[in-house]
């Protein structure tokens, strides 16, 4: 007993001393050949929490694409390294993660949710660190802008969904307006989505019968009451700004009770087909890929590239198990990788140091992106202030286990309804 206590004491002392030792130890840095530059990409996302099905695939996609750049020698003399941090979809872990990544000497940080980049923003501005996010908010892209995103404001994405509803609703045949509502998580993404949807629907009172937003806390399992409410409102279309697990719970509830409304989701919700299949056995009524102007315009080619890269760098069992190919987040990972590629390429061709975050940011605001015809050129600078304004929408369907996008509504200028 006595010895055991001593042993425990010893272990504890060691644990206390360890941070000091670690502080003294030098961060392990791969020593590249003298001509090689190493770009360290920090990846901060949820890898084990509520949206991990998205985060994991995204991370794999990013890593695969960076490997692909290297193997194909698309940027000679540059090596890529990815350092990851798992924030468990918990905002209180983001700040620690940001510092951790900074300590690892990253040149830019790739992240996903709005709250992640928003939390990092003040520190990123102070440290002059470039952040690439997936979706964004107005606060996030206010001056000085250090956070750049692939997606429009969540507000606009949700508005564009309802725009699609107005375009496709048969007013003559039904003789009435479509009844629409939202169901959202009670977090920044959900609130922003609700704001956009409400503003849009209320600007078109003769075209849409807007019922309101139902807010549920993240982590809600039980959708019995919200589903009942939606049914009592008599909704035709319900847009869900939640990740797909909770949305499938809503679907289960809806199907079990025979409610009639259609649940559609875009943004985050459509990310994990594999999960969706495992969970519900049925697809969500409508999955929409809302794309910003200039991005993913040729979705099919993008998906083909994804297929090639995924099969090249992952074992068949992993692809099967984690469902990368059925997971659109894998593609987002690739797109993040492309963004990194564009920035670094641009910096090098301008004769600047690509390991400098400020240089990369400069590229992000100025540069025309031209990934060899795969993606048509766009500028990031127009994201400043209001986010990407022009959106188009695809409907996603699984064809032989591979998601196929079909363009269903063309450019929609979201700035118009705001006036």
């Amino acid at each position: 007993m006595k010895n055991r206590i001593k042993l425990v004491g010893l272990v504890l002392v060691c644990l206390l001393v360890l941070p000091l030792l670690l502080a003294c130890a030098k961060a392990p840095s791969a020593t590249p050949a003298a001509t090689e530059k190493v770009i360290t990409v920090g990846y901060l996302n949820d890898l084990s929490g509520a949206i991990s099905c998205c985060g994991i695939a995204d991370q794999v996609g990013l890593k695969n694409y960076l490997q692909y750049i290297q193997d194909e020698k698309r940027i000679p003399g540059v090596k890529f390294d990815v350092v990851s941090w798992d924030d468990r979809y918990d905002v209180s872990r983001v700040a620690a993660g940001y510092r951790y990544l900074l300590d690892k000497g990253v040149n830019l940080i790739v992240t996903m949710a709005v709250h992640q980049s928003e939390t990092m923003r003040p520190m990123a501005v102070a440290d002059k660190m470039l952040i690439l996010g997936y979706n964004t908010s107005e606060l996030n892209i206010a001056d000085p802008i250090w956070c750049f995103t692939q997606q429009p404001l969540t507000e606009n994405a949700n508005a564009s969904f309802f725009n699609w509803v107005t375009q496709n609703w048969d007013y003559q045949k039904t003789g009435r307006k479509p009844v629409v509502a939202e169901i959202n998580w009670d977090n920044s993404m959900g609130k922003a989505g609700a704001k956009g949807a409400e503003a849009y629907c209320k600007s078109l009172p003769d075209k849409l019968d807007w019922k309101g937003t139902i807010v549920v806390p993240p982590g809600t399992m039980d959708f019995s009451q919200p589903a009942l409410q939606l049914n009592q409102w008599g909704c035709d279309y319900v847009f869900s700004t939640m990740v797909n697990g909770p949305t499938t719970n809503l679907m289960k509830e809806k199907n079990a009770r025979g409610y009639k409304f259609q649940v559609c989701t875009g943004g985050w919700g459509f990310v994990c087909f594999k999960q969706s299949k495992d969970v519900g056995g049925k697809d969500i009524d409508g999955l929409y890929w809302i794309s910003a102007e200039g991005w993913h315009t040729d979705g099919t080619a993008g998906l083909k590239l994804a297929d090639t890269i995924c099969r090249r760098y992952n074992s068949a069992s992993d692809i099967e198990k984690l469902g990368y190919l059925e997971n659109i987040c894998y593609n987002f990972g690739l797109v993040f990788g492309m963004e990194v590629e564009f920035l670094v390429k641009g910096a090098i061709s301008a004769g600047l140091d690509p390991t400098n975050s400020e240089v990369l940011r400069g590229q992000a605001t100025k540069m025309k992106i031209d990934p060899q015809g795969l993606y048509p050129p766009m500028t990031w600078s127009n994201a400043k202030g209001s986010g990407v304004d022009k959106l188009r929408m695809y409907q996603i369907k699984l064809v032989n286990g591979v998601p196929e996008p079909a363009l269903i509504t063309d450019w929609f200028d979201v700035t118009k309804y705001k006036k």
């Binding site: 206590i5 425990v8 644990l15 941070p19 890898l47 918990d90 209180s92 300590d103 709250h115």
Partner: protein, 350 residues
């Protein structure tokens, strides 16, 4: 405070002092001076980790006063930090009050809110009281996220940094100085409260509330006071948190964080100020070690995947608490005292 052999206190003033000998003073002053030089050579990562630890230490000290001394289990410390952080945010952004002036205000407002949730202590004890503080955790965060006109709701709000002249808390090194001074002051305050009249009344209530009442301590008033002081500390921690992140969001203040803080009090040793500080530093340190261990393991076993390391950090944290509760229920502080005693008495065992 343990005695040095052959050294006897010759006055009561000296007997009740925290540092009774010159050597202790010198050691402390040198220690603090060394800490003050950290910003000169440390990377932002370490400074920021220290700032995070400062926030935790202050909040845990508050919890130590409520739970460790007064024995009232509180499961809402993190939500009360939220009150402190939003007090700064709302007062400075909406009313233009200087961020420095918000420091005591954050403490006061949080203290008063804390008293509201401590009020059930009049009738409710133990688990039931713990649960009413748990209610505080949920209700406060909900209210904050729904007062959208003031707080920006779930979208969060930016808080301006504290500035004097060219000195701004936005940089981690400047915040380090602020946090450092704040933490030292708060530790001293906690320690002083503990060793004077009010602190003894708290411990009396914890150890034997019946006897305390019969010996002239108004239970309700002192329980409320404990909540006020504990939540005052939480408010100060909230201020520091707002300065640390500059972007506050209701989802930053989780039940899990509250529970962790309780865990820190336990690991440090219930009822000791030093223990509370040690617990906070130890657990945050452990967390960080788990991060680094994860990263290291990631390079060695790349097949596991990063989430496995989150799992390990949870398991390690859980195991450490389990080990502490079983083998060292009196916490790190007790271990430290034993170590000091054996060092002093070396080479004799007794």
């Amino acid at each position: 405070m343990a005695m040095i052999p052959g050294d006897f206190s010759q006055s009561y003033e000296r007997d009740i002092a925290i540092f009774r000998t010159k050597t202790q003073w010198v050691v402390m002053v040198i220690g603090l001076a060394i800490m003050l030089t950290f910003p000169l050579f440390m990377s932002n990562y370490w400074l920021s980790l220290f700032n995070f630890i400062f926030v935790t230490v202050i909040a845990v000290l508050g919890l130590h006063l409520v739970t460790g001394l007064c024995g009232q289990i509180s499961l809402g410390q993190s939500a009360l930090m939220c009150v402190g952080a939003y007090t700064v945010g709302v007062l400075s952004v909406k009313f233009g009050i200087s961020v420095w002036a918000c420091l005591p205000l954050a403490g006061l407002v949080t203290g008063l809110i804390g008293m509201i949730f401590g009020a059930p202590a009049l009738r409710v004890k133990e688990f039931y009281l713990a649960m009413s503080t748990l209610a505080a955790q949920f209700i406060i965060v909900w209210v904050v996220s729904h007062l959208e006109e003031w707080t920006g709701g779930q979208l969060g709000m930016y808080v301006p940094p504290a500035t004097i002249g060219g000195f701004s808390s936005a940089s981690p090194s400047n915040l380090f100085y602020i946090g450092f001074i704040l933490t030292i002051v708060m530790i001293a305050v906690a320690k002083n409260i503990q060793r004077t009249r009010v602190g003894r009344a708290f411990i009396a209530i914890r150890d034997n509330d019946i006897a305390a009442e019969v010996m002239g301590i108004n239970l309700f008033r002192y329980k409320l006071l404990a909540f006020f002081i504990g939540c005052f500390f939480a408010g100060i921690a909230g201020w520091m948190w707002a300065m640390y992140l500059q972007n506050i969001n209701p989802s930053q203040f989780t039940l899990k964080e509250s529970l962790w803080m309780l865990g820190m009090v336990i690991v440090g040793g219930m009822g000791s100020t030093t223990g509370a500080v040690m617990g906070a530093v130890f657990v945050r340190g452990l967390d960080m070690i788990a991060d680094y261990a994860s990263a290291w393991a990631g390079t060695v076993f790349p097949t596991i995947g990063e989430q496995a390391f989150t799992a390990f950090s949870l398991i390690i944290f859980g195991l450490v608490i389990v080990i502490f509760l079983i083998y060292e229920p009196r916490g790190l502080y007790h271990r430290w005292e034993l170590f000091k005693a054996s060092y002093r008495l070396h080479p004799y065992a007794y």
